[in-house]
């Protein structure tokens, strides 16, 4: 697994369920960041030249290499727009999220 996935956080019921000290499991994520986003990056795979610039400059690391060039993990994308701004061929468009 390359990226940690959301795991349900179970609130401790007994004192024994709490961690013994101020430490916690590495890579434990209990919620997503998708609600931060106002604009959603959409990658045009026909224009994409797979230069991986967006993959390197993404502050949240949500762009990953896939079978078809690169894809976005929309659970953790905050919609900052760095990928679209840095894309040398303008293959990424920022589209406004619509309320469902």
């Amino acid at each position: 697994m390359n990226r940690p996935k959301v795991q349900k956080y179970v609130r401790p019921k007994h004192i024994d369920d709490y961690p013994v000290g101020p430490q916690f499991t590495a890579g434990h994520l209990s919620e997503t960041n998708a609600a931060w986003r106002t604009f959603r990056p959409i990658i045009d795979k026909d224009l994409c030249i797979n230069c991986l610039r967006c993959y390197i400059v993404c502050p949240d690391g949500v762009i990953f290499k896939s079978e078809n060039k690169v894809d976005v993990d929309y659970d953790y994308c905050k919609g900052c727009g760095v990928c679209a701004y840095e894309c040398p061929v303008d293959a990424i468009k920022m589209v406004k999220e619509e309320l469902l």
Partner: protein
């Protein structure tokens, strides 16, 4: 040490694993690019030590843990001493093939953590110290730090009619580190990610203390659109207000020596923190830049 025999890490062969994921940093955070790329180069067997600062505030929010490798929060002034302890402790336990890295902000490096860092370099501990420089104490609400440049508007150096923001110049952190005769020191910028990756990789293969000063923009504190994070860090280098250099074997090396500079005025006035600057202030900044570059071009070949 010969650096040419290190295998170069590029976007094609860098690990697909993410070690800093799901954190709560502001959208377009430059510091998180610096931490993410450094951990991708250093790999899973890395102990990260973080003092108080943005990256510890956004990474460790119970019950979330954005670091996938081992990470620990240190005291604000003691990050380098804690990293020293982690490094020698792991060695005493017989661990092999591990790295210890510190990610501290500019305040945690140049002001509060300086003495511990100086001590760690003196003992030549096997640690990598990454200072992500966003030019103020951003986590606590944009107060001036030792690395805040001249003219910056922060909450403790407001821009008024008579005094236009911070009146002191940026502390020369890179040369202070080099003056310790450190094993490896470098400056980098997230605007040049490949150069930054190469320097982290070089630090990874250096025995002894390494220091990397990475220029990491902050959309919230600088007053820039989130999408221009990487671009503005690139323009800082292109305009000569930040330089890319290395120090190794008691020699300085300038990595980028542009023939002409990108307009410093354009770079400065794009940002809300410099919007109040007058032409006189910009002249002072440009004059200081030119003096610095004259010195560097003459002495750091």
């Amino acid at each position: 040490m010969n650096n040419t025999d290190i295998k170069r890490i590029t976007p094609k062969n860098i690990t697909d694993k993410e070690f800093f994921y799901g954190h709560k940093a502001c959208a377009g955070c430059g510091g998180s690019i610096a931490v993410r790329l450094a951990l991708k180069v250093l790999g899973e067997r890395t102990f990260a030590v973080l003092p108080a600062g943005c990256m510890s505030a956004v990474g460790f929010i119970f019950p979330q843990m954005a670091f996938v490798n081992n990470a620990i929060i240190s005291t604000f002034p003691g990050s380098a001493s804690m990293a020293s302890g982690v490094s020698v402790g792991a060695r005493a336990l017989g661990l092999k093939d591990y790295k210890t890295v510190v990610f501290a902000g500019d305040g945690g490096t140049a002001d509060i953590g300086l003495q511990a860092l100086s001590g760690a370099i003196d003992r030549n501990e096997d640690i990598i110290y990454v200072c992500y420089d966003n030019e103020a104490y951003m986590n606590t609400g944009i107060q001036k730090s030792g690395l805040t440049p001249f003219g910056t508007k922060t909450t403790t150096t407001p821009a008024g009619k008579n005094i236009h923001g911070a009146q002191s110049f940026k502390k020369n952190m890179f040369e202070i580190m080099a003056a310790h005769e450190i094993a490896y020191a470098a400056t980098a910028s997230i605007g040049y990610p490949q150069d930054y990756i190469d320097k982290i990789n070089r630090a990874k293969h250096t025995k002894g203390t390494s220091f990397i000063h990475v220029y990491a923009s902050c959309p919230t504190g600088w007053g820039i659109p989130t999408e221009t994070t990487v671009q503005i860090a690139k323009e800082a280098v292109d305009s000569g207000l930040f330089y890319l250099a290395e120090y190794q074997n008691r020699k300085f090396k300038l990595n980028k020596n542009p023939k002409s500079f990108f307009s410093a005025k354009d770079y400065l006035l794009k940002q809300a923190r410099f919007k109040h600057l007058t032409d006189d202030d910009i002249n002072i900044i440009e004059q200081q830049r030119d003096e610095k570059w004259e010195y560097m071009r003459e002495h750091w070949k």
